[in-house]
Amino acid sequence: MIEIRNLSLPLGDFSLKDINLTIGDGEYFVILGPTGAGKTVIVECIAGLQRFKRGEIWIGGKNVTGMAPEERGIGYVPQDYALFPFLNVVENIVFGLKEKRCPEKDMRETVGKLSELLGISHLLNRGVTNLSGGEKQRVALARALATSPRILLLDEPLSNLDISTSKYLRLELRRLHEVLGITTVHITHNLVEAEEMADRICILSGGKVEQVGALKDVFFSPRNDVVSDFVGKPNILHCETCNPLGHGLMEASCGGISVILPYEGNDAKKISIFPRYVFIYTGKPPGPELNRFKGIVKSIQPFYSLVRLEVEVGENLLLCEVRKERFEDMDIKIGQEVFLILKLTKLRVYH
């Protein structure tokens, strides 16, 4: 278990403010936050790479605050992987084992096991500079795991990869976590990444922990506007009654409107949908009457290249986003009657 107790750390204009976190044994814990939130600083504090005067770090029931990084039993993969370019793949993997004066036979065994687990056996004698992003990441993981750490710290491990490699490696990381059962702290600014990987997440903003919990708790019950904004300001509809329709569909009654969604069961408590998946029309849209609602525009606010509109539908106030050019074409005014469509496949259920 990792415990961060009352950690405060001023760093120029930025500071970590009274951080308290508990990460369970074998947990996959994601720290999620925008750039500059202090995610890397927290990980560096856990690793012993940052000195601080206020607060304590406990690992496995032991206060490690004053301990050197190598005494903490951690494996660390930084954002750029930091593979030593003057060493080849196998030399990179055994770097930590050599420092620990591990016998040659044990080193060979560890390299064999890890390279097989991570699918890099064919790369062992190659230089690291010409590896692809995904290969580099796997080599960095092997190097971090070679010393059998108790904790794996991953600093934005997927941010330098293309979409498909990143998606594949998310699955790989999750598989690796299941195989090894190692406590993992993964930091990212990507909500999708957090959603696919985390057992629990921590939303960090401006050096402050805003909310900690299972993703669905954070998503459906954001503690404040900061969290809600960060998770994409989802519309949350509270379900009063649920009616299974068969064929994997359910009809939920939420604040005077009836929403059809793909869900088997009758225990839905809340439904959410991101504003970008709420489509707005000035005239009645063609097609079947499914998740289409009439509403009144209550507010209009520009938001970067978008316009955010709040539309009253039944007893709900739904937020939708529309591109500025399209908004200008539609010429919508406050108080105007409009039509909304909720994208069926993007509705999420909290039960």
Binding site: E44, L49, E70, I74, A82, E99
Partner: protein
């Protein structure tokens, strides 16, 4: 796309040199130039080179210059490297010594000559001290830059993998600082030859520079050209040696750091 130089392109590079020598030879022998007396043909230069070599005059002077360059350069580089490592790695050492070295670094090597003549006298110590100074500062500066610009993530990873402070320095920082250190060595070695020739011309009675000055006083243009060619070849050879070593040791990865 930039193409790698091939054997063919290297041979093509020789063409202008050969052409230049041919034109020079013809112009000089046909006395087209009104100053032909001051421009002996390349064949006469080769002849003089042969004579100086056989008589041992060139060898003695060359070895004098070479030994001074080697001793001064090696001592200056080593001192610059060690001081650079200490200053690059230890912030207190850097803060303490940097202002002092910043004050001395801009002084051109030959600017020290009058002072060194007074301090060392006209002796073997003088040119060696001069080359020591001309090598020390650029290598010190490049070593500090090399160490300070090592990306911090490499150091952090090495620390988490169990490397001690000393091991981080020797197994991570110094290898990563090598490209900068080699740049310093490469630039300094050519500088050492230029400085020694200038020093020998001004204050030392032996060496290629001194031979140059004697040739000038006797208006022996052919000997002057021999000396200049030797200077050019030595600068080039030393620079190429360090370029070769740099590519061998860091060429595979240096552009990826």
């Amino acid at each position: 796309m930039i193409k790698e130089p091939t054997k063919g392109s290297e041979a093509w590079g020789m063409v202008p040199i050969v052409l230049f020598l041919v034109v020079w030879e013809i112009a000089s022998r046909s006395q087209i130039l009104s100053v032909h007396y001051f421009v002996p043909p390349p064949s006469a230069v080769v002849e003089e080179f042969y004579r100086l070599t056989i008589e041992g005059e060139l060898g003695v002077n060359f070895l004098s210059s070479l030994s001074r360059v080697l001793i001064g350069f090696c001592a200056g580089s080593l001192a610059g490297l060690l001081t650079g490592i200490i200053m690059g790695w230890n912030e207190i050492a850097h803060r303490t010594l940097h202002p002092l070295f910043s004050l001395f670094y801009p002084i051109p090597a030959l600017g020290w000559l009058p002072l060194l003549i007074i301090w060392c006298g006209i002796s073997e110590v003088l040119p060696i001290a001069l080359i020591f100074i001309s090598s020390f500062f650029p290598i010190l500066d490049n070593t500090i830059t090399g160490i300070k610009t090592v990306p911090k993530n490499y150091i952090k990873v090495a620390e988490t993998l169990g490397a001690s402070r000393y091991k981080v320095l020797t197994t991570v920082i110094l290898p990563l600082a090598l490209p900068n250190i080699f740049t310093g060595l490469r630039l300094t070695t050519g500088m050492a030859w230029r400085v020694i020739i200038a020093a020998e011309m001004v204050a030392i009675p032996t060496g290629i520079g001194a031979l140059l000055m004697r040739a000038q006083s006797l208006i022996r243009i052919d000997i002057i050209i021999v000396c200049l060619i030797i200077l050019s070849i030595m600068c080039l050879a030393f620079e190429r040696f360090f370029l070769f070593m740099e590519r061998r040791l860091t060429g595979r990865w240096s552009q990826h750091v």
